[in-house]
């Protein structure tokens, strides 16, 4: 019994330190692999456009990352408002989990108010993520387009967010939070979680395409002015 207590007292801090370092290493590895993935993507080659632009690319890009994401602009968001809101909250929960684990690993204690906000987003994020997973599993049209990676990614991230919430309440949950964070970071560039980067890339391309063609942002319909 004494041996168990001594070894626990010795090994626990060592293991926790290892896990803390591993979180940062995994985060760094993830960033490196995402960079490699971006370079691999760029290796497909960019094409120089020759057609004369009608609108401004940057306006389209600003629209794509801003107003263009709002439900009254985006038909799919308006039609699927619960899913859209759940998606937004889920991603807020994921960002809260990432910040939480980095703070925790760095042994930085955020202000209590921030911890409360994190807890809210972690709880809401987990529920939203679980709801989206359920939707994927239950709806036939979602099952039709899903592959194992879709389920595993969602499960992994849900676990990461939930363990973040639990670790903010019970210290004993911290090792699980660290382990799930490491797994999430390492899996990020491999599976569909890579969209954490490619979302921004794609939205900018989308905005550039439609902005250049003068389609988006939609101009206010002008009244035809007759020249005298």
């Amino acid at each position: 019994m004494l041996y168990y207590r001594v070894s626990k007292a010795f090994f626990e801090p060592v293991i926790m330190s290892l896990l803390r370092y591993s979180v940062f290493v995994a985060f760094f590895v993830s960033l490196v692999l995402l960079t490699v993935l971006v370079l691999q993507t760029l290796s497909f080659g960019r094409r120089r456009l020759h057609s004369r632009a009608e609108g401004k690319r940057w306006q389209g890009m600003a629209y794509a990352l801003g107003r263009g994401m709002l439900p009254w602009e985006k038909e799919s968001a308006a039609r699927h408002l619960p899913t859209y809101v759940a998606g937004m909250i889920y991603h807020a929960g994921v960002f809260a989990a990432i910040l939480s684990v980095l703070f925790l690993a760095a042994e930085i204690r955020p202000p209590e108010a921030a911890v409360t906000v994190f807890r809210f987003f972690l709880a809401a994020g987990f529920l939203s993520g679980a709801g989206l997973l359920l939707k994927r599993a239950v709806q036939p049209r979602m099952r039709y387009i899903s592959c194992p990676d879709d389920y595993v990614s969602n499960l992994l991230v849900d676990g990461f967010v939930l363990s973040g919430l639990l670790s903010s309440l019970i210290a004993a949950a911290e090792p699980v939070f660290f382990i799930l964070a490491i797994l999430t970071f390492l899996y990020m560039p491999l599976g569909k979680i890579r969209h954490c980067f490619f979302f921004f890339y794609s939205r900018l391309l989308f905005g550039s395409y439609f902005g250049r063609r003068g389609v988006l942002p939609r101009k206010r319909p002008p009244r035809l002015e007759i020249l005298s």
């Binding site: 960019r46 094409r47 020759h50 263009g68 389609v215």
Partner: protein, 450 residues
């Protein structure tokens, strides 16, 4: 509509007879057509499924195979199989599949047979994935393997061989123009009214959809009448008058380059300072936006839609319109290639507001308008005709809700599809081009005083 349609026999046979070299060639072309933007898009899809009800095929049928995400996934499965680490190591887990005979069958069936490349799904996509461009990349690969459904391929072949997609001979074209010129002279009471052909140094080279010459001569007359009223300096080309370019749809960039290149070459040879495109959605997208990319050079002269020109005539008071000549209730169908993918959004509305007494918008409209189902080469692919009409229900419902008497649309492909929808869904409507409506409203002071 569920399950694969009976692919046309030549395509089935071709798929069965594909050799290893053919597979390699198809894959090689697929790789060549993917640039960094395409690769980024393919890395982005999260299978959220929110694109589903942006597609008229899915809306009309509820068939999961018609979901844009499902169609995109067919392309993505192959991409993952060859170009992603997880896809190469754990294909089943990542949802990756090789380019097999079965996959090619699915590509032909869905990417040709369930998509009009209208781009509506991209607006709804959470990530903003340019789905139609990826589908065109896959169509290009299929074209390299000789796997384009025959009707669409023969349309391209005819255009390459004869200079226009309907194989109209130069003699027939010139006869048609002469006949229409005589009609125009009678209508405006001016023997000097012309439909000029090959006039060197004319400011504008005007192009038409060959269907106008064959089936819709009123569209040519309407443009001629507007040019006459505006006292425009313009001409047709005797050899290169076809605005269409089905290379956009079969994915064959080389064919597309030849077809669009001819129009620019004709304009240059005649010394025209502007290329004006008839009311044709995909013709506009092809010649205004894609041709410079196919040709790897700037167009050299402005390329505009006739709608932009007519709106300019109205603004500059070069023509006068009397809306009371069109007293019925009009609505407008926005062609996807002209509006959502082309950026010509308000000009047709400006023209109609000055040409008709009563105008009502369909909802949704402009860049969010539903595709009629006639794009993507669908009208040329008879093996998918049943699906095309079924998918057109979304547009038919939209028209019924608008409850207008006349549907205006600046696109002859859309007109053909709308005419079929009118018949099938029993829509009590007339269908006209925007210029036909504007021509009906023209106020022309006849020199003969009549």
């Amino acid at each position: 509509m569920k399950g694969p349609a009976a692919l046309s026999d030549p395509v089935q046979e071709k798929i069965q007879s594909l050799s290893q070299e053919d597979f390699e060639k198809i894959l090689q072309v697929f790789r060549e057509k993917l640039d960094a933007d395409a690769a980024a898009y393919l890395n982005s899809c999260v299978h959220c499924g929110l694109c589903a009800d942006s597609c008229h095929y899915y809306l009309a049928t509820g068939d999961p195979e018609a979901m844009p995400a499902a169609k995109l996934d067919l392309v993505n499965q192959v991409f993952k199989n060859y170009f992603s680490l997880l896809g190469r190591k754990l294909p089943k887990f990542a949802g990756a599949r090789p380019l097999s005979r079965e996959m090619i069958r699915e590509w032909v069936d869905s990417l040709f047979g369930r998509c009009t490349m209208c781009g509506r799904c991209s607006l709804s996509c959470t990530m903003g994935i340019n789905i139609f461009a990826l589908i065109r990349a896959a169509r290009s690969a299929l074209a390299a393997g000789g796997l384009v459904p025959p009707g669409l391929q023969s349309t391209v072949d005819t255009a390459i061989r004869t200079g226009n997609n309907m194989g109209i001979s130069k003699e027939n074209w010139l006869e048609t123009v002469a006949w229409l010129e005589e009609e125009l002279q009678n209508e405006v009471g001016d023997p000097r009214a012309r439909l000029p052909v090959d006039r060197k140094g004319a400011k504008i080279l005007y192009t038409i959809n060959p269907r106008e010459a064959m089936f819709f001569p009123l569209s040519i007359s309407a443009a001629g009448k507007i040019f006459y009223a505006a006292d425009e300096d313009w001409t047709f080309s005797s050899a290169n008058f076809d605005v269409t370019n089905y290379g956009l749809y079969n994915g064959d960039d080389e064919a597309a380059r030849i077809i669009s290149g001819r129009l620019l070459q004709a304009a240059e040879e005649l010394g025209c300072r502007e290329l004006v495109l008839a009311e044709c959605g995909h013709g506009f997208n092809s010649n205004r936006w894609e041709a410079p990319e196919w040709l790897s050079r700037k167009a050299g002269i402005p390329v505009r839609s006739i709608l932009q020109l007519v709106a300019e005539y109205i603004r500059e008071r070069r023509i006068r319109l009397d809306p009371s000549k069109n007293p019925k209730l009009f609505t407008l169908h926005d062609p996807c290639n002209l509006v959502r993918l082309g950026g010509v959004v308000e000009e047709q509305r400006d023209i109609l507001r000055h040409s008709v007494l009563h105008f009502i918008e369909m909802h949704p409209n402009r860049e969010k308008n539903y595709c009629c189902g006639g794009g993507g080469g669908q009208l040329a692919m008879t093996s998918f005709a049943k699906r095309r009409i079924e998918a057109g229900k979304t547009k038919a419902d939209q028209i019924k809700t608008a409850n207008a008497q006349v549907v205006a649309t600046p696109c002859h492909n859309c007109i053909d599809q709308l005419m079929e929808l009118k018949k099938h869904y029993k829509l009590p409507i007339e269908i006209k081009t925007v210029c036909e409506i504007a021509a009906d409203a023209l106020v022309i002071d006849r020199p003969d005083g009549e």
